[in-house]
């Protein structure tokens, strides 16, 4: 009960702060962005520790995917926020002369951010940077499945950021439901489609716009590559992105690989070698591999392997360590396409390889499933690239690499269909939390009589010409030289 009272107070406070107007100023926004950078710099070790606790993430991985990436976003926002805030001119037709048109971004107001547990720092702070840059007040709810990160954010952030404008509220489903009862001006959600639906339904009651960052089965197409070194680079990138980013627990991790039959065994062999190079032999000592976040998810991933036909398709790994919640990097060759492992998002260190007679068939395989957040394709065939681009649909497409589009701030990051909607990163984060207000400024000079009733044929004729921007016709009409038709 006390919690509810606290929550109510926090909300009242952020609303009041927004109304007060200080978050609209560029100074406030910059101060907060600088504070985020300082927070990351001061607390790097604590963040590494929390990530180690929640997910067994190695500091290098933690820096690459969480601390570094957020610092980069904050720095970019800090450098660009003034430019982003400036109104954009809109071209106005001569007919409206004299007038001025512009689009002015304004903050939505009080926004809610739901972060997820797999990148508990960056998926909390990256959207927060967008919300702050756009001048909103924010309630951030980190995921309760990464409790160390959640409580660290809740305890440390308030001493860096304006505590009356930015609140971290911790909690599980009950608190999330409580938050969803409230009226927000925007909700930004990262998580699963299933919870995404709940969030969207709740938002519907208040007509709140939402951004949904969901996941999906992101395929990697591996075409025949001429050089063996290219093949090695490709496989290394695939392996790095499958197991090297939170052990496959990433919304843009490779979910499965599509490859021509003749290359399947080459791929498996290369993957095995690379796994060994990356992680060694000892499953009990996988320091470089994140653990599975919870017992629940551990069981979920393990269950994917239990189907006997699926189990029979394992060509590497498959062992699990329940005590440490780790699952060995596991490769499966041609599990049945209707098995759960091929219908559900895997979100774990299992990598099915689907072999095809012809690599072109991969387009069909992809299109027979919901639209993924990302598609990856290793190919040097330009025609095939074009085909992938035009015949499939996904949040993004990356050629000859995996996951790196995430750090490319000039590209919008977001899904389509089952993988969500709305986008962020860089300027898109600012846009995601801004209302683009259209402004037309007119003067009292020059009145077009034809705008006003009583209507007559002259006015009709005038407007016909005006709408086709036939200025010569207009002049002739005024001079009485143009015949009024109709």
């Amino acid at each position: 009960m006390n919690e509810m009272v606290e929550l109510g107070k926090s909300l009242a406070e952020v609303r009041e702060t927004f109304r007060g107007g200080r978050t609209r100023g560029v100074a406030w926004r910059k101060t907060q962005l600088r504070a985020i950078i300082k927070f990351l710099t001061d607390n790097e070790d604590q963040i590494f520790k929390a990530l180690e606790q929640d997910l067994g993430k190695h500091p290098v991985e933690a820096y690459r995917d969480e601390v570094g990436v957020v610092k980069k976003s904050a720095n970019l926002a800090l450098n660009c926020v003034e430019k982003w805030m400036a109104p954009k001119k809109g071209h106005i037709p001569l007919l409206f002369f004299p007038s001025k048109g512009e689009v002015l971004p304004e903050p939505f107001g009080v926004v809610l951010i739901f972060a997820s547990w797999n990148f508990p720092i960056s998926l909390s702070l990256d959207p927060l940077i967008g919300a702050i840059s756009a001048g909103n007040t924010v309630v951030l709810k980190p995921s309760e499945l990464a409790p160390a990160c959640s409580s660290f954010l809740a305890s440390a952030l308030p001493s860096y950021l304006d505590p009356k404008a930015i609140k971290v509220i911790e909690g599980g489903t009950d608190i999330a439901e409580q938050l969803l009862q409230e009226k927000w001006d925007k909700i930004f959600f990262t998580g699963s489609p299933q919870v995404g639906r709940i969030v969207m339904s709740a938002a519907a009651r208040h007509l709140t716009p939402v951004t949904l960052e969901l996941g999906g089965k992101c395929p990697t197409i591996l075409d025949s590559l001429s050089g063996s070194s290219d093949m090695e680079v490709a496989v290394k990138r695939i392996a790095g992105a499958k197991w090297g980013a939170c052990s496959g627990q990433a919304c843009i991790a490779t979910d499965y690989v599509l490859v021509e039959r003749k290359n399947a065994y080459i791929l498996v062999d290369l993957l095995k070698k690379i796994i060994q190079r990356f992680y060694g032999e000892n499953l009990k000592n996988l320091k470089n591999l994140s653990k599975i976040v919870s017992k629940h998810h551990f069981d979920r991933v393990r269950k994917l392997l239990e189907d006997p036909i699926v189990a029979a398709s394992i060509v590497h790994g498959g062992s699990v360590d329940e005590e440490n919640l780790t699952i060995e990097p596991t490769i499966l060759l041609d599990p049945p396409l209707d098995a759960e492992i091929m219908t559900e998002e895997i979100f774990g260190p299992l990598l099915p390889i689907i072999s095809l007679d012809n690599i072109q068939e991969s387009i069909e395989v992809i299109n027979s499933r919901p639209k993924p957040l990302a598609i990856y394709a290793f190919t040097k065939n330009e025609a095939f690239k074009k085909q992938i681009l035009t015949q499939t649909s996904s949040g993004s497409v990356t050629f000859n690499d995996v996951m790196v589009h995430f750090v490319c701030d000039t590209l919008p990051f977001g899904g389509v269909g089952q993988s969500g909607f709305g986008r962020y990163h860089g300027k898109y984060s600012f846009d995601a939390f801004s209302n683009e207000k259209a402004i037309l400024q007119r003067s009292f000079l020059i009145e077009l009589e034809a705008r006003y009733p009583p209507w007559n044929d002259f006015k009709m004729q005038f407007l016909r010409l005006a709408y086709s921007f036939n200025y010569i016709g207009l002049v002739l009409l005024y001079l009485g030289l143009k015949r009024t038709s109709r």
């Binding site: 609209r24 007509l207 490319c408 209302n435 037309l440």
Partner: protein, 487 residues
């Protein structure tokens, strides 16, 4: 090819799923994505407007007694210029947009590709039944989607005209019209769409949003709200009055989502403003406005009764300073001005959507912005003033979908400005390129080469890799070199 649902009298779940299958097939085979298809469909829409102007004007006259000039200017001409703009710009809009890539992903190149969302639903409104149906359809087609249009049953003549002509002129495998009311709309909303574009009110908007949530369908909601007009005392009074009148009564007799809903002005200035409005109203619509052919009627008896109720409110009686005449037989209500109605009256607590215009007064004009911001965010807000500071303050502090200074409603016709609401007035925007964007997915595409493979990305992780990554993500070139050489 005549399909079942074309003949059946009821549009039920079965017919709907047959229709969806046909549309999915049409989209799936890729024809709607081609530049040529989009152009041909836009040209067909133009042909409908060009070949059937008379029928369109007649339908609008039958549904709303809309004056011919209004029908032409606000519905046909606007729709045509949208079509022409789309035809002219389509190539340009479809071209992928190149973007820079950071050093972090070097060597690489990147672009943003606009791709159609798939099969989309447009539910339109009765007040501008032609324009508000086809303007979103233009966006949907321009972006390469298959589209179903559900025109409003409250404007039946236009609805059946759209069904007929779109059926005749458009590619019927990918562009369809479903006519009907609540039951048909409910069946449509149960289907899985890739985008829903709804124009109407907040109550139905919530129903649409809840239905969309089930399928994770993105939405554009074009709603309304009480759009205020603030009038300062230093303005060209005649021009201001005329611009207010044409935005209020000259736009479907107030039945427009961006029509001025109420005026706020100062106590000192209000007598002059009321006089000017009266004078210009008389010039425009004569002494007997109920019989003026230049005013639309109220759409139906439900809405007539709703508006009558607003005036019957005890708190409002005696506040009418102009107009007030009504004729239920011809569903006409004269331009009506009310002065100083209480803020808790019915008329000040719902969108009026009709020819009634309350005026509220304040001591100082500056106080009006606070009044506006204390209410739900409107679709539009207007200010008449010559003071630079006041204009700046207005633009900065008043939150609304769109603002116009020293005019009303005209911002809608500017295709370079996004048109859409915020908060209670909706979400998402359209018009011009914004319509194309509303129906497109912006696909991020990154091209990498096989070269430039930084070992630091891969395990096993070492402190040197951490140093390198720090430099790389900070875009610190010297740092990168230092880390590479192990300094």
């Amino acid at each position: 090819m005549e399909l079942e649902y074309g003949k059946k009298e009821v549009f039920d779940a079965e017919t709907a799923s047959a229709m969806m299958k046909e549309l999915r097939d049409a989209f799936g085979n890729g024809k709607t994505k081609s530049f040529e298809w989009r152009v041909s469909q836009l040209e067909s829409l133009l042909k409908i407007a060009n070949n059937h102007e008379k029928e369109i004007i007649d339908a609008l006259c039958s549904d709303l007694s809309k004056p011919e000039l209004e029908s032409f200017v606000h519905e046909i001409a606007l729709m045509k210029s949208s079509c022409k703009l789309a035809l002219q710009e389509l190539k340009h809009w479809m071209t992928p947009q190149k973007v820079k890539t950071p050093i972090t992903t070097f060597p690489s190149s990147a672009e943003i590709v606009s791709e159609p969302l798939g099969v989309v639903l447009v539910i339109s409104a009765w007040n501008y039944p032609f324009l508000l149906s086809l303007e979103p359809v233009i966006g949907a087609i321009t972006a390469g989607n298959a589209v179903v249009l559900k025109p409003s049953e409250v404007a039946p003549a236009t609805s059946s005209l759209l069904a007929k002509f779109l059926g005749e002129y458009m590619d019927s495998s990918a562009v369809k019209v479903v006519e009907g009311a609540v039951p048909e709309t409910s069946v449509l909303l149960e289907q899985k769409w890739d985008k829903i574009f709804y124009t109407g009110n907040g109550r139905v908007g919530r129903i649409v949003a809840a239905a969309a949530a089930k399928h994770l369908t993105p939405l554009v909601l074009e709603l309304g709200g009480k759009s205020p007009v603030v009038v300062d005392s230093d303005v060209n009074l005649m021009v201001a009055a005329r611009r207010i009148i044409v935005g209020k009564w000259g736009c479907n007799n107030g039945q427009a989502c961006i029509a001025p809903d109420y005026i706020i002005t100062t106590k000192d200035y209000v007598p002059k403003l009321v006089d000017a409005l009266k004078l210009e109203l008389e010039k425009f619509y004569g002494m007997d406005p109920l019989n003026s052919e230049d005013l639309s009627r109220i759409v139906n008896s439900n809405h007539f009764a709703r508006l009558k109720k607003l005036l019957d409110d005890d708190k409002v009686s005696g506040k009418i300073v102009h107009g007030g005449q009504m004729d239920e037989g011809i569903l006409k209500i004269a331009p009506t001005i009310l002065l100083d109605v209480p803020e808790d009256s019915l008329i000040m607590n719902e969108e009026i959507f009709g020819p009634l215009l309350p005026i509220l007064t304040v001591d100082k004009v500056e106080a009006s912005f606070g009044m506006i911001n204390s209410r739900d965010k409107p679709l539009a807000a207007y200010l008449f003033s010559n003071k630079k500071k006041l204009k700046e303050e207005f633009v900065k502090t008043v939150s609304a979908g769109g603002l116009a200074v020293n005019d009303t409603s005209l911002h809608v016709a500017v295709s370079t400005l996004p048109f859409g609401g915020v908060g209670e007035s909706g979400m998402g925007a359209y018009h011009g390129k914004f319509s194309f964007d509303a129906f497109s997915h912006k696909k991020a595409v990154l091209y990498r080469s096989f070269a430039g493979d930084a070992p630091a990305r891969y395990p096993p992780y070492t402190p040197a890799k951490l140093r390198f990554l720090k430099a790389l993500l900070n875009g610190d070139i010297l740092g990168i070199i230092r880390a590479l050489f192990g300094w």
